[in-house]
Symmetry: C2
Subunit: 456 residues, 2 copies
């Protein structure tokens, strides 16, 4: 088992589940009856061709660092892994999010392959939800989302779609294997590399030292907020979709990027949320944003650098009370960070990224989170999803909300997926330290509306 | 925090949740509408007078032996603790048991008071289910059941029932505090005392030595079976009710006790189950049965000995293929064990009980369960419930199934509760090592029917 895999197993405790999830919504095909959910379950369970990643489990479920390795189960207890669930009446999105929060807060059984899929009925509008969770040691969030997309078809008439667990990988390891954009991989790589930082070759330190000498780069240090303390085991999940065209209009009119506007929405939401809790810090908060090394290679006109992913820390300018000013400062901060990255080699970016997320590897140390400044205040990941309408055997995908991970020091996480004409936003948080998390949805809309007044 | 409390917290891991549960079924009062489940939830949540046990949590959720102590929360997040859930269509008991299995397999959040109650809708017959789980460090199964009974009324017209968490205890500690029969306390006491056995005063060893010299008692040693290996984290729960009159008829006709007939049912069920798996041991299997010390004091004509509880190990005679023979041997073994206990003082019984369950305290040792004989093959507890029909604000209690604990070496557990004219049987097992656990229900009925042919 690679060290990065075992790190995610070893870092896990009852308070810190290390699985990534996804909440998908489907509109049943026209003409389908009340038995549709069972038909879907039958398709999900009717396969004896399970991909290796979905048959994989730790050989010694209770083992320690010395003896962590993978084994593969030949048979799968489908009734265990693929579950039929329901939400109570009235069957609103609210009830669905409550169930998702509970399901995401419980640990996967290490005696079995590390995944579960829950087919959920009971939504008042007749849609079917599918909540999937997979251990981060098996796959990162982006690869998981890409795998789910592979299960879908752009043809509503197609009836030969296979569930994600039946899709055989082209390469032995899904994680970023096709060299595409892989932002969540940054956190993964970061956590893994940071944990191993003591073992870095002296050459790597030289690289980093050189970066610091050459530019005006400092290690990130964000203000302390209520969102950056230790976390409990219970989760709260909120999700909502926005039309991408709204965000694009603001980006074009303001001369910023779609990502800048998204960060400005997050900034406005966090600012209003913390104001409500009388807990807004005086200093500007910062966000850690995973970036692809491919992007950097493109801008520098060099050949593709493969699947490595870096991170950048961007100011959220939460100390400014005007939304337009916040967007301008975010766009500036983001441009500076990209400019700096574009002057580095992929190897330098990796080393720097590792250093920036390094403090996260220290969070298991007692008191570390309580007594030190966080390296950044929040992680905001944007995952590219399908650009056209997609279907699973005729059922239209109507929501694709990533359900990410919170850790000590990072009690809330925004992960977004684009889907067709929508941006699907998933916010996961610690239930204790992020009370009324769903208010962030309202504040995201308020922040976008404020920007639209200037640039809509 | 008393050592026995912290033992249950420390012994817990993701594979070995240490909470006890109960699955109750209620028939809504006549004339109640579709909103009944919300009315019930409102009653459950509408209290600001929470009993101390339900506000209690470990002060340091991730602490080790040195720093385990309790703290009390002033406010309770009711939406977290009291949950509204649903089962999917067709809403049979099967779907309810599947949900119960999943809920019982996940750990309680140690950052909060250690309990959850799930109000479940969706049963096709309109009944409402309430699944409750409470950490064993807070309360034992018997006390939990008694507390639930206190919430009920024999008067169907009563509308002033309070939920269990609002019932203020008469004494600071529920566990056996009123001196009643407390069989599950034996396991609790046993586990706790056994863990501390190295610290027993020399006097205790003298007592035990004396018992062994005086009688023909040997430490229990049961055959190895597939039910006595290490357990995984996933659970399977099965439940069914039997008319007590059927069991009583067999007991009277055969000159045995109700408990003997219940053990004979378990014996027949285990025998048939293991035969189906080609895994029946040649030697007779044994059951550990918690017994009350009060019983012993009565038979000896002495004054009441309080709340201490002992255990006895009884042969299940699974090597006999005739049900009648099995019942006779079980009754004989049970009489011998009681006779022996009746000659001992409560203090001697406690010391002996601790010694008998002592091997269970060794199960966390790597390889212990794999390489040694189990002290007994199964735990069978019988908990006295209400003898008359009972109601919660007019909703009739229609099922009272205990959901107990499995541990390494004890992969299946039978816990029974009497209710009105019924015996409600709850069987909890490790999902991996007790495949098709629900078959045990069929075998229990077969075993009772066989006994009825001779003595019905």
């Amino acid at each position: 088992m690679p060290l990065t895999d075992s790190m995610f197993l070893l870092a896990e405790s009852r308070e810190h589940p290390m699985h990534v999830g996804g909440l998908q919504l489907f509109v049943p095909p026209e003409g389908s009856g009340p038995d549709y959910v069972h038909e879907l379950l039958n398709v999900f369970r009717a396969t004896d061709n399970i991909a290796p990643n979905f048959r994989k489990r730790p050989a010694d479920p209770v083992g320690s660092l010395g003896n962590v390795w993978w084994t593969y189960d030949d048979t799968i207890d489908f009734d265990y892994h693929i579950r039929h669930s329901a939400i109570p009446k009235p069957g609103r999105i609210r009830e669905l999010l409550q169930l998702t929060s509970r399901l995401h807060g419980s640990l996967l059984d290490r005696h079995r392959p590390l995944w579960e899929a829950h087919v959920v009925e009971g939504l008042e509008d007749g849609r079917i939800a599918v909540y999937t969770k997979i251990h981060h040691a098996l796959i990162d969030g982006v690869s998981a989302l890409r795998l789910m997309q592979k299960a879908l078809s752009e043809d509503p008439a197609a009836r030969d779609c296979l569930p994600p667990w039946s899709i055989q990988p082209g390469k032995p390891r899904e994680s970023g294997a096709d060299g595409g954009f892989n932002p969540m991989g940054a956190l993964r790589a970061g956590l893994g590399v940071a944990g191993d930082i003591a073992g870095l070759a002296p050459a790597s330190f030289k690289i980093v030292n050189q970066i610091f000498r050459d530019g005006d780069i400092t290690l990130p240090r964000a203000p302390k907020t209520i969102l950056n303390g230790p976390v409990g085991g219970a989760r709260r999940f909120a999700a909502q979709s926005w039309e991408i065209s709204r965000i694009q209009r603001v980006a074009r009119s303001s001369g910023t990027t779609l990502n800048d506007v998204v960060l400005a929405m997050v900034s406005g939401a966090l600012r209003n949320y913390l104001l409500e809790h009388h807990a807004l810090p005086d200093e500007p908060m910062t966000a850690m944003v995973p970036v692809s090394l491919a992007l950097r290679d493109e801008s520098a006109g060099k050949e593709g650098g493969g699947n490595a992913t870096g991170v950048m820390v961007v100011s959220l300018a939460t100390n400014r009370d005007n939304g337009g000013t916040r967007l301008e400062e975010i766009a500036y901060s983001s441009r500076q960070a990209k400019k700096m990255l574009s002057g580095l080699s992929p190897r330098q970016i990796l080393a720097l990224s590792a250093l920036q997320v390094a403090p996260m590897a220290m969070t298991p140390m007692p008191g570390f989170v309580k007594h030190t400044h966080p390296p950044f205040n929040v992680i905001v990941s944007n995952i590219p999803g399908p650009r056209k309408p997609t279907y699973f055997n005729g059922a239209k995908l109507d929501g694709l909300y990533p359900v990410s991970i919170v850790t000590d020091g990072q009690a809330v996480n925004f992960t977004l997926a684009s889907r067709d004409k929508y941006l699907d936003v998933g916010i996961i948080g610690c239930r204790t330290n992020v009370p009324h998390l769903q208010r962030l949805l309202t504040h995201l809309e308020t922040a976008l509306a404020e920007l639209e007044q200037s640039w809509g």
